[in-house]
């Protein structure tokens, strides 16, 4: 997509806080990003980095209390979703924004037929009658590669395997032709061969339907295969953002660099141990006043303890458009490509 076109989704300064008995947890801190039409944005980060919470905040899927959205804007086609009431949000969810969750084994309701669950959003958002909805449901199941779809409408989730259920989840998310599909680790709970099938399916559907996709994962290999652009999250913040090739070739943030090092090499001599990033992700009690990654960072210096780094562009474009990073330290110029992957 051309840079000039208005993004379908534009998130500005999003803050989400969980109020717990033990105090507040600042799960999402000033997160800004945008999603262009037809683009696939990969969101990477380890568990607890705020990836899922960010995406669920967008369409009000977090239970409140304890979650509370403290600020920011979520502009979907120019309309701020955070200003909508419950009813307004319900009209967005499932219609404009589709959501696929991590665990297909538990994400479908076990006591209703797949057809019933698939037809619900069709009847609610598109106002289809029973027959029309059933026909559309059959189309959708065929679209996600489930054979003998008409008979399968009467099947229950327990009669399907994990991969098949995830296909159904995707069909549900796509039911009303959403502008944005948010996939929250959709392949994490699946074994590798099924994972590959689902990835292929998404690539194919993207070509057919042309919707924009946000793909949350902690698997950099998956991201390399499908994403146009990557956003790396850590401690509830965006720490680096770049087009996918740029990010893999020229990682800037020490966290991104460490993440890339943890990918085990398939070829070459076998390493003794898998690489890990030492330490634990931070507990986000309180608004950040210092770099969240400092405790685990090998380039830490005084400023990191005093000041939470703002995102800065490193390629002369505005922040969010090209390659930007939130770090006080400047990475050395990229080494030749072959070495960069193992830097």
């Amino acid at each position: 997509m051309a840079d000039g076109a208005a993004p379908v989704l534009d998130v500005k300064g999003l803050r989400t806080v969980f109020r717990t008995r033990g105090g507040e947890i600042h799960a999402v801190n000033d997160v800004s990003f945008h999603l262009n039409r037809g683009e696939l944005l990969g969101v990477v980060g380890e568990s607890g980095s705020g990836k899922s919470v960010t995406m669920m905040s967008l369409i009000g899927l977090l239970p409140s209390p304890p979650a509370e959205i403290r600020g920011g804007q979520v502009l979907l086609d120019g309309r701020d979703l955070l200003q909508l009431d419950d009813k307004g949000l319900q009209e967005v969810r499932g219609a404009k924004v589709g959501f696929v969750f991590q665990d297909p084994m538990t994400s479908l309701n076990p006591v209703f037929t797949l057809g019933d669950q698939l037809m619900e959003p069709l009847r609610k958002h598109m106002g289809l009658d029973k027959t029309a909805a059933a026909n559309r449901a059959v189309e959708l199941l065929e679209l996600v590669g489930i054979p003998d779809a008409r008979r399968r409408l009467k099947a229950y989730p327990h009669q399907f395997s994990g991969g098949m259920r995830q296909r159904v989840m995707i069909a549900i998310a796509l039911a009303c032709d959403p502008d944005v599909l948010i996939a929250d680790e959709p392949t994490t709970a699946l074994d590798v061969t099924i994972q590959a099938q689902i990835l292929e399916l998404v690539k194919e559907l993207r070509q057919k339907l042309g919707m924009a996709i946000i793909w949350i994962t902690h698997d950099l290999g998956v991201i390399a295969g499908i994403a146009d652009r990557v956003m790396v999250m850590y401690g509830g913040q965006v720490v680096e953002q770049a087009p996918v090739r740029e990010l893999f070739a020229n990682p800037q943030h020490p966290y991104t660099r460490a993440l890339l090092k943890t990918i085990p090499a398939i070829s070459g001599p076998r390493e003794d141990r898998l690489k890990v990033i030492q330490g634990q992700p931070p507990i986000l009690a309180g608004a950040p006043t210092a770099c969240p990654f400092r405790a685990r960072c090998e380039h830490r210096h005084d400023r990191c303890d005093r000041e939470n780094p703002a995102r800065r562009a490193i390629d002369g474009q505005t922040v969010g458009q090209g390659h930007d990073v939130a770090c006080h330290w400047s990475a050395p110029a990229p080494a030749p490509r072959a070495e960069a992957a193992h830097a």
């Binding site: 369409i59 899927l61 419950d86 009813k87 949000l89 319900q90 009209e91 967005v92 969810r93 499932g94 219609a95 589709g98 959501f99 969750f101 665990d103 538990t106 994400s107 479908l108 309701n109 076990p110 006591v111 209703f112 037929t113 619900e120 959003p121 609610k124 958002h125 229950y156 327990h158 989840m169 549900i172 998310a173 039911a175």
Partner: protein, 335 residues
């Protein structure tokens, strides 16, 4: 499902036979004999004849088989005769109450309506108030509504009905005089006035029993709902843009019904056993009172029959519960 139901019905037969044997033997082994109820003024030879006529000098297995025959063959024939005016039974000996000398089934038939009306109403009222309370408490967990509901449930469930019953009588009958404390069994509802009277005399026992049952049921509903509200599929339903009403009352409720159905169906036989204590407190002349009375006077046929009918109901409602599970949850369809 049909195969499953039939299979379960067939399995129920040996179960019930075994239960009937146990009940028969237990009652038989219990101390006291119906013969001891015969006044001492009766001459010994007359007494011997009476004992022979009652059949209590026969060996135990003969008596058991005769009782089985009466229960499963003779009594149904009489029931058919009564319903269609036929004469299949042809004067065969029925199960007769020792103390009142009337057929036990007729006796139960007289008592049953009181129990069904009062205790049954209480049960229905309990379900009708417990489900909404449990659902809303879970949906608004830790809200003031939930806190109050939890407290009332705890009190309602932990205080026995003979206490709440007496308390209600003191407050509403003795002090306020709003409701009668004694249930008038002979009242017949013929017009508006008697209907009001009936409602008034039912109010206290129904309220006391409903509070007790609703307390238990609302707790089960609440915990089942809580467990399911946090499930992934509830989030999926919300992500589809469904209204909270649909999410909670369709997706979550259906999944939460299994433990609730268990409590409701397995509690139902208790309705027939008559919530014995409550019947005593409010002097309701129902099945529970009949059972207590029969135990006091060693009226073995009545005790056996009521106990066995209760056993049949328990087995039956177990089956009903299992069938309902299958309807509610496709994973529990057994064929």
């Amino acid at each position: 499902m049909l195969t499953y139901t039939l299979r379960r019905l067939l399995v129920a037969i040996p179960t019930l036979l075994l239960i009937s044997l146990v009940i028969f033997l237990l009652v038989d082994l219990a101390p006291g004999s119906p013969a001891s109820e015969i006044p001492l003024t009766v001459p010994p030879e007359v007494k011997a004849k009476m004992i022979e006529a009652m059949g209590i000098n026969e060996p135990v297995h003969i008596r058991y088989l005769l009782w089985l025959k009466q229960f499963f063959w003779t009594e149904p024939l009489y029931a058919i005769d009564a319903a269609f005016g036929t004469n299949y039974a042809d004067g065969a000996p029925r199960i007769i109450s020792y103390s009142s000398k009337v057929p036990v089934m007729d006796y139960i038939g007289e008592r049953l309506p009181q129990t069904l009306i009062v205790i049954g109403t209480a049960y229905v009222v309990a379900i009708l108030i417990a489900l909404p309370i449990g659902i809303y408490s879970a949906y608004r967990q830790y809200s003031w509504f939930d806190q109050v509901g939890t407290f009332v449930s705890m009190v309602g469930y932990s205080v026995p009905t003979f206490f709440t019953g007496l308390l209600a009588i003191i407050i509403f009958t003795t002090w306020l005089g709003w409701f009668p404390s004694i249930y008038n069994t002979s009242l017949e509802v013929v017009d508006w006035e008697t209907f009001k009277q009936q409602v008034r005399q039912m109010f206290l026992p129904v309220a006391v029993l409903a509070l007790f049952n609703a307390a238990e049921l609302s707790r089960y509903t609440r915990s089942a709902m809580l467990e399911n509200l946090s499930q992934d599929y509830a989030r999926t339903a919300r992500a589809k843009g469904l209204s909270e009403r649909t999410v909670v009352l369709k997706h979550v409720l259906r999944n939460s019904m299994i433990p609730v159905i268990t409590v409701i169906t397995l509690g139902l036989p208790a309705v027939f056993a008559g919530a014995i204590v409550t019947e005593q407190v409010f002097k309701i002349n129902g099945i529970g009172a009949a059972l207590i009375g029969a135990i006091h006077v060693n009226d073995l046929p009545v005790v056996q029959t009521i106990a066995f009918i209760t056993a049949i109901l328990i087995v039956l409602f177990n089956l009903v519960a299992d069938i309902l599970y299958g309807i509610l949850d496709p994973r529990i369809r057994y064929d």
